[in-house]
């Protein structure tokens, strides 16, 4: 499904990694490990098409993601360091915009359902600036529930989350994997998702 062939990434003048190969199939989870500055975020941004690799290729269902463009984006969701929650819009409006852009027809209902699932029922009508860091993170993660995406790419998803929310995300991840989804994630926290098909990549070693 997701194939990475001989990937090389460079940041500034420094080569972060080269000759990276892996494949990710339905229902598989990929952990990206590595110390600070080893290129985890760059790898994730390259995987979702935000950054260009120096060499190598990323293929989705056998085709280069550059060529697929929007067709790839329709099946991929990215939660980065930035939450992508606007301070001036309410939590609901924030999610509704994402849903509409993703082409979801009943984006309003789905937005409410996603917020409720993330334990933000009380914050639906609150503006982004009234949310705490953890609540913003939850709202960012609620994006994953708006439309069925096959591949989730998550950069430090557990940052700022409390224990209960971490458990919630773990459940969400295993449900997604059980349903044939794929996940690529980085985390410094010791979070174990019960899944036999978890793979690991160590960068910077």
């Amino acid at each position: 499904m997701l194939e990475v062939v001989d990937l090389e990434c460079v940041r500034g003048e420094r080569r972060l990694f080269q000759g990276l190969n892996f494949t990710l199939d339905k229902g598989e989870l990929l952990y990206v490990h590595g110390p600070n500055g080893s290129g985890k975020t760059t790898l994730l941004r390259t995987l979702c098409g935000l950054a260009l690799p120096e060499a190598g290729e990323i293929r989705w269902r056998g085709q280069n993601i550059r060529r697929l463009g929007e067709d790839y984006h329709r099946e991929m969701a990215y939660v980065g360091h930035l939450n992508g929650v606007k301070d001036e819009l309410t939590a609901f409006e924030n999610l509704q915009v994402v849903g509409q852009l993703a082409g979801v027809s009943d984006s309003g209902e789905r937005a409410v359902a996603a917020l409720r699932r993330m334990g933000l029922s009380a914050c639906v009508e609150l503006p982004g600036k009234a949310l705490s860091q953890g609540q913003k993170r939850r709202a960012a993660l609620a994006r994953l529930l708006l439309a069925p995406m096959a591949l989730w790419i998550m950069d430090e998803p557990f940052n700022a989350l409390d224990v209960k929310a971490v458990e919630m995300i773990q459940t969400m991840l295993s449900e997604h994997l059980d349903g044939g989804g794929m996940v690529v994630l980085t985390t410094h926290q010791e979070v174990e998702i019960i899944n036999r098909r978890a793979r690991h990549i160590h960068l910077g070693s």
Binding site: L82, G84, K86, L89, E93, V98, L101, G103
Partner: protein, 222 residues
């Protein structure tokens, strides 16, 4: 595609309504710059009448420049721009939506208030009419060209100054034909030729600027 365009326009208009101070600063800047000239030059009606259209147009260029910084920078720093680039929609369409909203918020108010300011310069009703039409045709071009510059300088230190160096020279043709149309109309030469040229700037800008802006945004995001 149309749904996505409408969604982005509505989103940016909502944001502008909740940050009204930003919108008003552009408008007040325009009003103040235009009003400073009669105070500085003196009350000689013939001089003022001659320079009126030019002053209004230069002020419109500067006001439009001033508002460019807001076009992408807020979305860039909170990560919503990243999400837009990754949305399963043509980026040029989303960018066009953002530019359209930017024009509605920062261009249209200038067009509406310009006749009132023109009165300070003793412009005739005919001249004011042409001035409004030129601004209506010209300000969208300013927003479209400006968007390319704003996208290219996104995330750079001192991007505000850089964007003016990049964009102001490109505004020159719009300025020449915008201010020239009023002049030509008043002297009886007819403003049609100038207005057609302004229209001729608008069409290619409308087609190419969103595409170029999307491309520039992708480069800036890397």
């Amino acid at each position: 595609m149309w749904a996505a365009l409408r969604c982005v326009v509505m989103r940016d208009l909502t944001l502008a309504m909740r940050r009204r101070a930003d919108v008003l600063t552009t408008l007040f800047f325009f009003v103040i710059v235009v009003s400073l000239f009669p105070l500085g030059v003196g009350p000689d009606m013939n001089t003022l009448r001659l320079m009126g259209p030019g002053v209004v147009w230069v002020a419109a260029l500067l006001a439009s420049m001033l508002s460019l910084g807001r076009l992408f920078s807020a979305d860039y720093s909170d990560g919503t721009l990243e999400q837009m680039v990754l949305a399963p929609q043509p980026l040029a369409v989303l960018v066009l939506g953002k530019i359209a909203a930017h024009w509605l918020v920062s261009g249209v108010p200038l067009v509406l208030i310009a006749p009132l300011l023109g009165v300070q310069y003793g412009l005739s009703a005919q001249a004011l009419e042409i001035l409004v039409v030129t601004l209506l045709l010209g300000t969208p071009v300013l927003s479209l060209i400006g968007a390319v510059g704003a996208a290219l300088t996104l995330g750079l230190r001192g991007g505000g100054v850089l964007v003016s160096l990049l964009v102001l020279p490109l505004y020159i043709p719009v300025l020449i034909f915008g201010a020239g149309a009023v002049e030509a109309g008043v002297t009886g030469l007819g403003a049609e030729a100038h207005l057609s040229l302004l229209g001729a700037f608008l069409v290619p800008a409308l087609i190419f600027a969103p595409w170029a802006t999307g491309w520039a945004l992708k480069i800036s995001m890397e």
